[in-house]
């Protein structure tokens, strides 16, 4: 395998292409790390809701609704990651 310097010279990679390539890698890393937190948090909410229903089954509807509202809020950081990833792909990368 050739070293990086010769690759750069052979392919005539410009500065803009390096920025675009970094944007692609960055998009993947942004979405990857950003998905960890909301996934754990929302799962915790779901688990506690199951516990709540097993303790007070008659409040089933209220518990489900509260769970969904709470999960929607915890998901917002995941959605920011998605927005940032899409921006990196389609605005910086193009």
């Amino acid at each position: 395998m050739a070293n990086l310097e010769t690759i750069v010279q052979e392919a005539a990679i410009t500065g803009k292409e390096i920025v675009q390539a970094a944007a692609m890698l960055g998009a993947g890393i942004a979405m990857g790390f950003g998905a960890i937190g909301p996934g754990i948090g929302e799962g915790f909410a779901a688990g506690k809701a199951c516990e709540g229903v097993s303790k007070r089954p008659e409040e089933n509807g209220l518990i489900t609704r509260t769970m969904l509202v709470g999960q929607a809020v915890s998901e917002s950081t995941g959605i920011y990651s998605l927005v940032v990833a899409l921006l990196l792909i389609f605005v910086v990368g193009k």
């Binding site: 509807g61 609704r65 509202v69 959605i79």
Partner: protein, 232 residues
């Protein structure tokens, strides 16, 4: 093995519009609709006051769904029951048709779940406005503090994006795994016998089981989103 991500498309021009569609999805959707029609015409044939065995079984399932919708949506649940059941049955048949050889799931194409999610989106917000009044419903997006309005809108859109991508991702993922397993194991004669064991297992898990779970999840989430918007 490069054809896995490729989608067959056909296109035609209608005036200024250039319309692109996937003929396989279109034909498979028609087949699914025909299957649903045949099944349910057969199930609802010769209905009597005193139900026979078949009618009693169908009535039991219907009552179960009626109870489920009533419990989740509350008031006026009968108005939503046909929509919810249609979504469930269509998604279920679409997911299950893929286990027949040479047939593809319509839900494997992103456009089918997208169409269903758009219907649920409009029904959700229409119900929210209808049951709460336009002003009160819009005000609910500015709670708890007005500053959060953009976040609430993004969260609302994100709900529906994840709704249709969840169905697409599960069905598409299953079909990719089955496709890769078949292509790799069929390539030489001494591995193809593994498929005798593995094939039915993969079809059963990804086709029947995941198909049923995802149809149920799609129905439950649509119903809960409608209920949350309606009973604020």
């Amino acid at each position: 093995m490069h054809e896995v991500g490729v989608v067959q498309t056909a296109s035609f021009d209608l005036g200024p519009l250039h319309i692109v569609f996937n003929p396989v999805t279109l034909i498979m959707t028609w087949i699914v609709i025909a299957l649903i029609l045949i099944t349910f015409v057969w199930l609802s044939r010769k209905m009597r006051q005193v139900p026979g065995r078949r009618q009693a079984a169908v009535e039991m399932v219907m009552e179960m769904f009626d109870g489920l919708v009533k419990e989740t949506i509350g008031k006026d649940s009968r108005r939503y029951l046909p929509l919810i059941l249609t979504i469930f049955i269509f998604v279920l048949f679409s997911n299950w048709v893929g286990i027949v050889p040479f047939m593809q799931e319509p839900t494997k194409d992103l456009n089918t779940p997208l169409g269903l999610a758009v219907i649920v989106f409009f029904v959700t917000h229409f119900s929210g406005i209808k049951y709460n009044g336009l002003f009160r419903y819009i005000k609910s997006f500015f709670e708890p503090i007005p500053f959060l309005f953009p976040l609430n809108v993004v969260g609302e859109i994100g709900k529906f994006v994840s709704l249709f991508f969840r169905l697409f991702g599960n069905i598409f993922g299953g079909s990719v795994i089955i496709w890769v397993a078949y292509t790799m194991l069929m390539s030489s004669w001494w591995t193809s016998w593994i498929l005798v064991v593995l094939g039915p297992f993969l079809a059963g898990f990804f086709g029947l089981f995941v198909g049923l779970i995802q149809a149920f999840v799609f129905m439950m989430l649509s119903m809960t989103y409608i209920a949350v918007a309606k009973n604020q």
